[in-house]
């Protein structure tokens, strides 16, 4: 699992590459919490286009950060283009909580 973090204004853009499962979820969660806190981020964009696998542990990571940022009036968006990842996102009901965008640029524009 590789995580690249970029900050644009007060929006954190997290590009996740590799496999997001229970094993890697803890690291992802810690890195995101740390960045959100130290950079005082309000919004978060999960760029999942580099993922080769995700299971429900990934859903837990996304919902956890959504709850955190929703509490401070922030927004969370997802960028995903993989059929297997999109299937999981749809069945978990995440699409009712946050928008799934086709690109990071679109996600930023829709914040």
């Amino acid at each position: 699992m590789k995580i690249q973090l970029k900050l644009k204004d007060r929006t954190l853009i997290a590009k996740l590459s590799g496999e997001l499962d229970h094993h890697s979820a803890k690291t992802v969660k810690e890195m995101l919490e740390n960045a959100i806190e130290t950079k005082a981020c309000v919004n978060l964009i999960f760029d999942l286009t580099g993922l080769t696998f995700m299971d429900s542990s990934g859903i837990g990571v996304i919902i956890g950060r959504y709850k955190l940022l929703q509490g401070i009036g922030g927004k969370v968006k997802i960028v995903s283009d993989k059929q297997s990842v999109n299937k999981l996102i749809t069945m978990s009901g995440l699409t009712r909580l946050m928008e799934v965008c086709e690109s990071v640029e679109q996600a930023i524009m829709n914040l």
Partner: protein, 144 residues
Amino acid sequence: MERKKPDNQMRLEFLSKSSNESFARATVAAFASQLDPTLEVLADIKTAVSEAVTNAIIHGYGTSCGIVHIECEIKGRDLTVIIRDNGKGISNIEEARTPLYTGMPESERSGMGFTVMETFMDEIEVESVPGVGTSIYLTKHIPE
């Protein structure tokens, strides 16, 4: 009635370490690939196996370390994957299979594990005895 013999079989055993989750689903996918599944079907199988193996590791064994057993069988175009642990077992299977139920509310689990297995596979059966362990049977028909 005599049980039909499988066309092919494999067994896998590994320690209940989270670093083995990737190994387990990749190995099952490699075994399943002899049926030439589409990438979508293969992704469904990997995801369901990952959920079952994660359950065995975090709910079955928890902080202790044990062995996770996987058996795969191919009969015709059907793949059955059995994931067993000798962990603490599930006292209420119906409750555990309820969408969004999590046995670990403090740990940020989504409670979607069984729902994913049910959605991504054709059949799922759960056998569990508290204090003895859990077996999850997952079956997927792989179209030609």
